[in-house]
């Protein structure tokens, strides 16, 4: 029998996980990756929230429908001439009575290199198992819930929305280019078709996976020297004990419970 035994049912364990999600805070990553045929630079931030806990003996916390809230910014540059053919204004010939008949030269629009910035925010839900790991980290006891494997993220809906947002961003970036107007719709279509859902998923998937791979929630953190009572004046010093052992597990009886065991010494 351990010196101290703590048990929490699934609702209490859920609160513990939600607190750990909040403590984890907002994570940020950046990098570059393939967006279809283009190379995109990206930065992303994400935080986790919600989900319901199912405790599974002997040491698994299953978190169902955990929400990964993310904000993604990416931009990619390309020579527009590679997407749509250069556009030429033909000679315009006119007759002006006091000048005579004359013609302008042919003028070809050399499309520029453009950069399309895209911002997108969304929530993706996933279910994953977390295994319990109680360990001493320096002077601190930790109980971590560590994700098992990498959950499968359903991104098809988000990818379609991002592609639509990309189309809007492309239209905005292109609209300022002189003479693009009649070709704008075709150019946007060509850009989104070149990328496609697959291209967006190919960028989004690895980015979001960075936030869930190895995901660890710390559900317990106490110093090894545990303060029982603080000092109360010069005559009553602080009372401390030592946490010699911490262990975590899941027990199954008539309900599933998260168990935390502690052995202490004076």
């Amino acid at each position: 029998m351990p010196d101290i035994l703590v048990a929490a049912d699934e609702p209490a364990a859920t609160e513990l996980l939600h607190d750990a999600e909040a403590t984890l805070g907002t994570l940020s990553r950046s990098g570059s990756g393939s967006l279809g045929p283009f190379n995109a630079n990206w930065s992303a931030s994400a935080f986790l929230a919600g989900g319901t806990v199912d405790l599974i003996a002997p040491n698994v916390i299953r978190l169902a429908n955990c929400e990964l809230h993310y904000n993604l910014h990416f931009s990619f540059s390309f020579d527009l001439s590679n997407i749509i053919p250069d556009f030429c204004l033909p000679q315009v010939c006119i007759h002006i009575p006091f000048v005579g008949t004359f013609c302008t030269p042919t003028f070809c629009v050399n499309w520029p290199t453009i950069t399309i910035p895209v911002n997108f925010s969304d929530v993706v839900r996933f279910t994953a198992d977390f295994s319990l790991n109680a360990h001493l980290s320096g002077p601190t006891w930790l109980i971590d819930a560590v994700i098992v494997g990498i959950p499968n993220l359903q991104l098809s809906v988000a990818a379609a929305a991002i592609l639509a947002a990309l189309g809007v961003a492309a239209a905005a970036a292109l609209a300022v280019i002189p003479f693009i107007g009649p070709l704008l719709a075709g150019a946007v279509l060509a850009i989104t078709a070149a990328i496609g859902i697959a291209g967006v998923t190919g960028l989004l998937g690895p980015i979001l996976s960075l936030f869930v791979a190895g995901l660890t929630f710390t559900i317990y953190r106490q110093p090894r020297i545990f303060n029982v009572l603080p000092a109360s004046g010069a005559l009553d010093p602080a009372v401390n004990i030592r946490l010699d052992r911490i262990a975590a597990s899941v027990s199954h009886t008539d309900e599933d419970e998260l168990l935390i065991e502690a052995d202490i010494s004076a």
Binding site: G100, F102, F179
Partner: protein, 206 residues
């Protein structure tokens, strides 16, 4: 940038001058709006012969290019007949635009101060309503309505491309323009032709 301004000619713009007086015209690029002094006068147009207003003159093309930070005219020298027309244009995209002026012993020309038999053309690259006026405040003004063409189908696109070869002309005489409103499609060209005036610079009202 596709700004309407005859003082800053950019790709899609042309400046044309019909020479009705013989003489040797020395010209160069100048800062718009300023008198053409301090010119290097690197370029010349030698105009010969007697002027016949009923005779259709020839057209001569001068291409304006960048060499380093300077504009250059190609060809640098022209030998033409009176009544001929010289047209300057450029394909240089990353500049603020060129302005040229020149003079002979008896005559002069200036793209930023058009007086006689001069034409500034501008191809409009974006839809909208543009109010134009004389930057030198001599009176002429008007509105250009630029519409987006229908290009949903290949047939629409073909029809649109055919319109690009058609231009609209606004004739300025004295303080007046013959049209106060012109409607065109994106990509079409408007010609501002100065028959005779005090010195016109076409620009866009901001």
């Amino acid at each position: 940038m596709n700004t309407l301004d005859s003082r800053f000619c950019r790709p899609g713009d042309t400046f044309a001058q019909r020479f009705s007086e013989p003489g040797n015209y020395a010209y160069d690029f100048n800062l718009p709006g300023l008198p053409p002094f301090g010119h290097a006068n690197r370029y010349s147009i030698n105009v010969k012969g007697a002027f016949d207003p009923n005779k259709q003159g020839k057209q001569h093309f001068v291409t304006v290019r960048r060499e380093g930070t300077n504009f250059v005219a190609d060809p640098p020298k022209l030998e033409i007949e009176t009544g001929d027309l010289v047209l300057w244009s450029t394909n240089e995209v990353n500049t603020s635009g060129f302005s040229i002026s020149g003079k002979s012993e008896t005559d002069s020309f200036n793209s930023g101060d058009m007086v006689r038999n001069a034409v500034y053309s501008h191809a409009f690259g974006s839809p909208g309503e543009i109010e134009w006026l004389d930057a030198n405040a001599h009176g002429p003004a008007g509105k250009i309505i630029v519409k987006m063409p229908k290009t949903d189908s290949a047939k629409d696109m073909e029809a649109f491309k055919e319109t690009l070869a058609q231009g609209a002309v606004i004739i300025i005489n004295g303080k007046k323009a013959d049209k106060t409103k012109v409607e065109i499609f994106v990509g079409q060209t408007v010609f501002f032709a100065v028959e005779k005036a005090e010195g016109i610079a076409i620009t866009e009202r901001l």
